[in-house]
């Protein structure tokens, strides 16, 4: 590969973490959320276990509100990696009619993501789950361990974290406990993009700018991805050249106007950017500490 020494060091560290999980846990799984971080994490997993197929399944907690391009990428990733894909949907939430437009982002996230994830973990009894979170994303993440212990009810206790000197990870669990493991902890958004370019990793096309149907709402561009998008009075669908820095549920993920339609342009644009990527996540925009709260409740 042609990546820098810096990226090589990050890559080796992530691979080492993944191998440690497979060697230490009985039932690992990889939370795969289809975005750029998941794409890098999956690529690293394939490298870590080559020539074997990574010995764990991919799990997607599906809110049913992802962009259509994301669903296409999900199927492609499973096919190309040869890994089992588990799609988990909170059917009870669907039956209750929870959706991001009418239920609001907080309830939708709580039921279709946090509760769904807890339910998925209980159903499959996974004892270690990889997540693609990075420490540079958010303040409380900056203090989370790479091997992060969860109670039997999936709670996070920030005050009882295990020290990780010399990357000697303590993998011991009591009955019912599980581990969230973050192999990309030390990567930054810029690292992710430079690695995607260096390794030619396929990512969802929405990250690159294109003409797309969007609506201006609450100071942000939302993309009209399917007929479920309900226009408020006075709103109009426009066509703009936009792209996404982060991908989630389409009604909860804002686009930015951009001409960056190649990876090189995206990287260049990002280095000039003056807002962090999570600014595009509508669910974080409440008071400071909201991520810490969600994590204590079992969010990734």
């Amino acid at each position: 590969m042609s990546a820098s020494r810096h990226l090589q060091r990050l890559e080796a560290e992530s691979i080492d973490i993944m191998r440690e999980v497979v060697a230490s846990f009985a039932r690992p799984a990889m939370l795969y959320s289809i975005g750029k971080d998941s794409a890098v994490m999956l690529h690293l997993a394939r490298k870590a276990f080559h020539p074997a197929v990574p010995p764990f399944p991919l799990m997607h907690v599906d809110t049913t509100w992802k962009f259509r391009d994301m669903y296409a990428m999900r199927e492609r990733a499973a096919r190309e990696s040869g890994m089992e894909l588990i799609v988990h949907i909170n059917q009870e939430g669907l039956a209750r009619g929870i959706d991001p437009f009418t239920s609001g982002s907080a309830l939708h996230t709580q039921v279709m993501k946090t509760e769904a994830l807890r339910h998925a973990l209980d159903t499959h009894r996974f004892d270690a789950v990889f997540g693609g979170a990075r420490r540079d994303e958010e303040k409380s993440r900056a203090k989370e361990r790479i091997f992060s212990l969860r109670t039997a009810t999936h709670g996070w206790n920030p005050k009882a974290q295990r020290p990780e000197p010399w990357a000697l990870y303590n993998t011991r669990l009591r009955a019912g406990e599980s581990m969230r493991v973050f192999p990309l902890s030390n990567w930054t958004e810029l690292d992710i993009w430079q690695y995607i370019r260096a390794e030619a990793i396929p990512v969802v096309g929405l990250y690159l700018a294109a003409e797309r149907p969007v609506v201006w709402r609450d100071g942000q561009w939302l993309m009209v991805d399917d007929e479920r998008f309900v226009l408020a009075p006075g709103e109009e669908v426009e066509t703009r050249k936009v792209r996404f820095r982060t991908l989630g549920c389409y009604p909860l993920t804002a686009a930015v106007e951009s001409d960056a339609d190649t990876l090189d342009a995206v990287i260049e644009e990002m280095m000039l950017a003056r807002t962090s990527e999570r600014a595009g996540r509508l669910i974080d925009a409440d008071e400071a500490g909201s991520m810490e709260k969600k994590k204590r409740e079992g969010y990734f």
Partner: protein, 622 residues
């Protein structure tokens, strides 16, 4: 404008910052991120919001709030935990481990320093060198960091006086003598106003050295172990099919080329590297830090935890060694307690056999110690259940380090740095004997077991054990009873009742019980044995099924009312310290084989329950 684009040749520097919030450490990191244009608009907005709510910088933005990520930290205005921060300049990528400075957070500083290439020590120009700075320098040196920057901060508050700066530098050089730093660079800064952080300050014309960022950009640090001999701890055996067997792992030292001869450190078996496999194709060579998969030219017995090494430079293999230990557990270290030790890819049982001395982290004085509390540092002798391969920490930070894990709480309770192997370890070998435990038991027509009675003083343990032994004896079984009080008159008469002594008391009795079971006997052990960890240790020493834990579950008020030896009365009167149930804890068993209710049944009936259980388990023949 944004940050300049790091080229793909960018290298990485990991450094740790040490200092307390009063020194302006978090402010300095916030300043570096801000200057590197890595603070985004929405983050600045959040910062302005937080500064009004919790800030300590008046109308100014309080950069410290940027790095104090947890709610408790923001509320209390202190940094509690290690935080990792990332920024880049045109020349380098930086990973900063931001660690709190107070003595009660030593464990967090140790964690942050353990993987750092360099350290930035903060000193408040007004206060000069404090005990705390000496402690930081000491810990940084102990953790093997060889490059130190002394950032003398708040120069704006001493009018950028050169005399002040020079005096502190001279104090530091004196304090750091003997720490073995390869480079020390002192820089006068004002984190709050940015002087000499990224831009050279016009207010320190007398200072001709580099700015902080300028220095960190070019600092040349050698990765520990990179130049040393090959060390490859096997992490995972990759066997996707019968045709492929690869050993996956990360080089912890040295380098490797296809064709090289390697040797398994513990067994001495040799092979040559046939392939260095990666998904990008086979490599000709791999260096320290690379995560690869090795295929060898012949099949030898290798599993996770084994260390492949250079044939000419094998690591030490020993089961006893001296080490520096930083205690990180909430509960004190108890010598003789069995902990789990993890080093490289190996996890196994270990005990601290001896605390040579404690070291005061502030004064570096050597002190006598019987146990260790949170954040204390000591030199100890460590004994592992099996020999392990290691290097002295001085030579290799990865193969010379370990953590200890509490077997019961699973907490990581210590970080250790190995100094040297202890000679006696290599000279005592297991003697293979021709009459084994099975043959001895067969001759006695019984299955040897250890019946372990645990419970409060006065619960009725010895009374019941005595009746059980009489009945077994009558049935023709070969038995022995180890009684707590009796053993304390002989084998354990040197031990008192502190937690450390209680652990050693149980360890010795468990070893004796094990020998007796090995001799074919049915052993009754009647000991208060208040801690779960030691009972678990005894269980794990014995073959599966040979440990029968009997909880004599007499409630405290009942035992105290009985008080057959008058001990509770003395304890209540304050004449007897560390008395279980009164001022020393009793941890009841979680899954004992039997629980005896001494309130509902008399000792005869309870002994009957035990004998019936032994018959049902097939311990007694006929």
């Amino acid at each position: 404008m944004g940050a300049p684009a790091p080229k793909d040749a960018a290298s990485q520097l990991r450094f740790v910052t040490c200092g307390s919030v009063d020194d302006g450490k978090s402010t300095l990191i916030g300043r570096m991120l801000y200057d590197a244009k890595l603070l985004m608009e929405d983050q600045v907005e959040a910062l302005v919001r937080d500064s009004r709510m919790h800030g300590t910088a008046g109308e100014d933005i309080d950069f410290a709030l940027l790095v104090d990520g947890l709610e408790a930290e923001r509320e209390q205005g202190i940094t509690i935990d290690v935080a990792y921060r990332y920024f880049a300049t045109a020349r380098r990528r930086f990973i900063v481990a931001d660690t709190p400075g107070h003595v009660q957070y030593t464990r967090n500083m140790v964690t942050g320093a353990s993987t750092a290439d360099a350290a930035v020590l903060m000193v408040d120009a007004r206060k000069g060198l404090l005990e705390q700075t000496r402690r930081h320098a000491h810990i940084v040196s102990l953790l093997g960091i060889r490059h130190v920057v002394v950032a003398i901060n708040k120069m704006d508050l001493v009018d950028f006086a050169q005399t002040r700066f020079d005096a502190i530098v001279s104090d530091f050089n004196e304090a750091a003598a003997g720490f073995g730093f390869a480079s020390v660079q002192a820089i006068p800064v004002s984190a709050r106003f940015g002087d000499n952080v990224t831009e050279a300050s016009a207010r320190t014309p007398w200072y001709g050295g580099p700015t902080l960022i300028g220095y960190l950009e070019v600092l040349d640090t050698d990765t520990a172990g990179a130049d040393g001999p090959l060390r490859f701890p096997v992490q995972w055996v990759n066997r996707p099919n019968a045709d492929f067997r690869g050993y996956a792992g990360t080089l912890a030292g040295g380098s490797l080329r296809a064709g090289d001869e390697v040797v398994v450190a513990a067994s001495g078996k040799r092979a040559n590297v046939a392939r260095i496999v990666t998904m990008d194709g086979d490599l000709e060579a791999a260096v320290c830090g690379d995560a690869v998969t090795l295929v060898l030219d012949r099949e030898i017995d290798i599993s996770r935890g084994d260390m492949l090494s250079a044939a000419g430079h094998r690591p030490v293999v020993a089961d006893q060694f001296a080490a520096h230990l930083v205690w990180m557990g909430e509960d004190d270290l108890l010598p003789s307690r069995s902990y789990l030790l993890k080093t490289g890819r190996r996890t196994l049982a270990a005990t601290i056999t001896d605390i040579k001395h404690r070291i005061d982290v502030n004064t570096r004085q050597k002190l006598a110690a019987k146990s260790l509390a949170l954040n204390e540092l000591a030199v100890c002798n460590v004994s592992t259940a099996e020999p392990i391969a290691f290097d002295p920490y001085d030579e290799n930070r990865q193969t010379g380090s370990f953590i200890l894990i509490d077997r019961f709480t699973n907490a990581t309770v210590a970080a250790g740095m190995i100094d040297f192997p202890l000679r006696r370890a290599s000279n005592i070998h297991w003697q293979a004997l021709s009459i084994d435990a099975g043959k001895r038991a067969e001759q006695k027509r019984q299955t040897p077991v250890v019946i372990w009675f645990t419970g409060l003083s006065g619960a009725g343990k010895s009374t019941i054990a005595d009746i059980v032994e009489k009945r077994l004896f009558a049935l023709g079984a070969h038995t022995y009873t180890l009684d707590g009080d009796n053993v304390r008159h002989g084998l354990n008469r040197d031990l008192g009742f502190t937690d450390a002594d209680r652990v050693e008391n149980i360890r010795r009795v468990a070893e004796v019980a094990k020998l007796m079971a090995d001799a074919g006997l049915i052993v009754m052990v009647s000991f208060i044995s208040p801690f779960r960890s030691e009972r678990r240790m005894a269980r794990e020493m014995l073959p599966d099924g040979a440990f029968i834990e009997v909880h004599v579950a007499t409630p405290l008020e009942v035992a105290e009312a009985r008080d057959p030896k008058g001990l509770y009365r003395k304890a209540r009167a304050g004449e007897l310290a560390n008395f279980t149930g009164i001022d020393s804890p009793y941890e009841p068993p979680e899954n004992p084989e039997l629980v005896l209710d001494t309130v509902a049944h008399d000792p005869q009936a309870l002994a009957g329950q035990i004998v019936a259980y032994l018959r049902q388990r097939g311990v007694l023949e006929g």
